[in-house]
């Protein structure tokens, strides 16, 4: 310990300097203290900043640079083509299919998972014996790896597999489809599987939101003669606003990035025809596996810009709504 540390003030504090020190010594010790503080700040934050900059920020910059070239990934890129890769992407019907599929997944997830999760969360927010066990079971799909879940459903949905056998055994054989191979069906199958996997996440968040609703409010509404449904509709739901918006935000970002599930469940041929491709699988198929690195990076930039802009717009919207006092004001 240096002498500076003996007379050190609490960080950032404006407490009176220790008595008995001459003004000059006081100034010197304060300078030493400031220098020491900056050493600590730099020493503690540098590793995090470096790794964050190197692996999060730098790659996106490089992606844009590479996207301006026709490049097979060997040696430095030389064949500058400007924005042609972007033009090519938007002319490729498969990429447009991928965009459409992402849109289906984004909106399908919001529209299906939202109400379903809300219903289940309200159910599991009631107080009954064994509630925590039920909650645990409902969260299981969310905790499993997307890949494992994908393989699992692939086994169940395969042609002539379990689901088909079950349908036939209850006389619904007419509904049997090539769930993962029919070009018109596969995206809806994927949406179903994604919903099965991620509805638990929405439920986790909504239960947290529900636990924040003061019970006094419900009791007051009950005393005023409101029915259970009226209470949920007019008291609980408005209070859940912020939670629902945060979930929508996370769901949207996740849906735009979806890769694992599509990759493991879909037949490559079906994917390459666009029926089940998403932006992420299209990017990896073309950039990594077909070695069209310039083109793949252009798709990466498009995916990034779409996600980033969607996130920014949503955050503005979210922020504005929440600052307006969705919680505090409506309660009165």
């Amino acid at each position: 310990m240096t002498s500076a540390s003996q007379t050190r003030m609490p960080a950032g504090g404006v407490t009176a300097p220790p008595a008995g020190l001459r003004p000059g010594a006081r100034a010197a010790s304060r300078r030493a203290e400031t220098r020491r503080k900056w050493y600590e700040i730099i020493g503690l934050t540098t590793p995090a900043v470096l790794i964050y900059v190197l692996f999060v920020l730098v790659p996106m910059g490089f992606a844009f640079y590479y996207s301006l070239f026709r490049w097979r990934g060997v040696g430095p890129p030389t064949e500058y083509v400007g924005f042609r890769n972007y033009a090519l992407a938007f002319q490729d019907p498969i990429f447009l299919d991928a965009l459409r599929n992402n849109a289906i997944i984004v909106f399908g997830s919001l529209l299906i998972q939202g109400p379903v999760a809300l219903g289940i969360a309200l159910l599991l927010n009631r107080r009954f014996r064994g509630r925590s066990a039920f909650r645990l079971l409902v969260f299981v799909p969310y905790v499993l790896a997307e890949v494992t879940v994908g393989i699992m459903w692939k086994l169940i949905l395969t042609d002539g597999g379990t689901l088909d056998a079950l349908l036939r055994s209850v006389g619904l054989g007419g509904f049997v489809q090539a769930w993962l191979a029919d070009l018109d069906v596969v995206i809806w199958t994927l949406l179903f599987v994604l919903t099965w996997k991620y509805v638990g996440f929405a439920i986790i968040l909504l239960l947290a939101g529900l636990s924040n609703v003061p019970p006094e409010l419900n009791e007051a509404a009950e005393i005023d003669g409101a029915s259970w449904w009226q209470i949920q509709r007019h008291v609980t739901l408005p209070l859940l606003g912020p939670t629902i918006r945060i979930w929508m935000f996370l769901s949207m970002i996740g849906s735009l990035q979806v890769f694992d599930m599509v990759w493991v469940t879909s037949v490559p041929a079906v994917r390459s025809l666009g029926a089940s491709a998403t932006m992420a699988t299209y990017m990896v198929d073309n950039g990594f596996f077909a070695r069209l690195w310039g083109y793949g990076n252009a798709v990466a930039v498009i995916l990034f810009v779409i996600s980033f802009v969607a996130a920014l717009l949503f955050q503005r919207f979210l922020l504005r709504r929440d600052i307006e006092g969705a919680i505090t004001r409506k309660v009165k």
Partner: protein, 288 residues
């Protein structure tokens, strides 16, 4: 919804209704739970059947029960090696996230300096940078750094992409530690670093456990990054192993079922043990 109308509880003084129309609640809860775990149960039980049994009757029960698939997967496949690789990568990621995130969050929470809020905003910006979009340039960067086919190729980017959320969760927690404790530590001769080590770290264990577990689970389940950067079969993690096994042994349905259920087991065990932290962590992240 006429059923629910009956459920309006009679307002009773002092006691909140605990068991409104319990049968309906239980029926619904059971249905929801069944939908959630039926596929998982199916896969686990399917692992006890033989492929001919499954082809014969895809939706039937094992008759007789066979252990052979599980035994075969555990002894003859890369399951253990892949589980080991997954564990190394997930633990490395967790350690990195906790150490770097804690150090940065501590500075952002307990030091007053010019540019502090800018630095915080700089980190939170990372929440808007999706890892999926960056995967191709990330691969190129790792290739240039000669890290392809090493644990670091997965660990370092995973740490980097987990940092923003970690800092967002840790910072308010560290800010809430009372100033008096810091003053007391200073009086006892501890510098700020001593304060971090001896007081902040023990106090913030719940928050550290939360971010650690979130990072661990995310890493354990990761697929896209390992798929691109771990070409070496000996380095494959469990998600890659499941995918490979299922595409290599397409005709061995029973084996794939057994492998898949074994791959689910660690995650399920882990979740059962750490459910409070995982759920609480996700919820805390949203509330914060």
């Amino acid at each position: 919804m006429t059923v629910a109308v009956n459920s309006v509880p009679a307002p009773s003084a002092g006691r909140r209704p605990v068991q409104w129309n319990t049968p309906l609640t239980y029926a619904l809860a059971l249905a929801v739970a069944a939908v959630s775990i039926a596929p998982v149960v199916y896969v686990v039980i399917g692992g006890f059947r033989t492929t001919p049994q499954i082809v014969d009757d895809p939706a039937g029960l094992p008759d007789p029960w066979v252990w052979e698939n599980y035994y075969r997967v555990l002894t003859q496949s890369g399951f253990w090696r892949q589980a080991f690789n997954s564990a190394v990568v997930a633990l490395g990621t967790t350690l990195g996230v906790v150490v770097l995130g804690m150090a940065a969050a501590f500075v952002l929470a307990r030091y007053t300096f010019r540019g502090r809020e800018a630095l915080y905003t700089f980190f939170t910006l990372g929440l808007l940078f999706p890892a999926g979009a960056a995967i191709l340039p990330l691969y190129l960067l790792l290739r240039d750094l000669n890290l392809i086919n090493s644990y670091y190729a997965v660990i370092l980017p995973q740490v980097a992409f987990s940092l923003p959320l970690t800092i967002v969760i840790l910072r308010p927690f560290l800010s809430a530690i009372p100033r008096e404790l810091e003053d007391a530590a200073a009086i006892d001769g501890a510098g700020r670093l001593g304060f971090l080590w001896r007081i902040v770290l023990p106090l913030s264990r719940p928050a550290v456990v939360t971010v650690g577990i979130l990072a661990f689970v995310a890493s354990w389940n990761a697929f896209l990054l390992p798929l691109l950067v771990l070409g070496d079969v000996n380095l494959h993690t469990l998600p890659l192993g499941v995918q490979n096994f299922s595409s290599q042994y397409t005709t061995d349905t029973a084996g794939v079922l057994a492998f898949t259920s074994l791959a689910m087991l660690p995650a399920l065990l882990f979740f059962t043990l750490a459910e409070k932290q995982i759920v609480g962590g996700l919820q805390g992240a949203v509330k914060g």
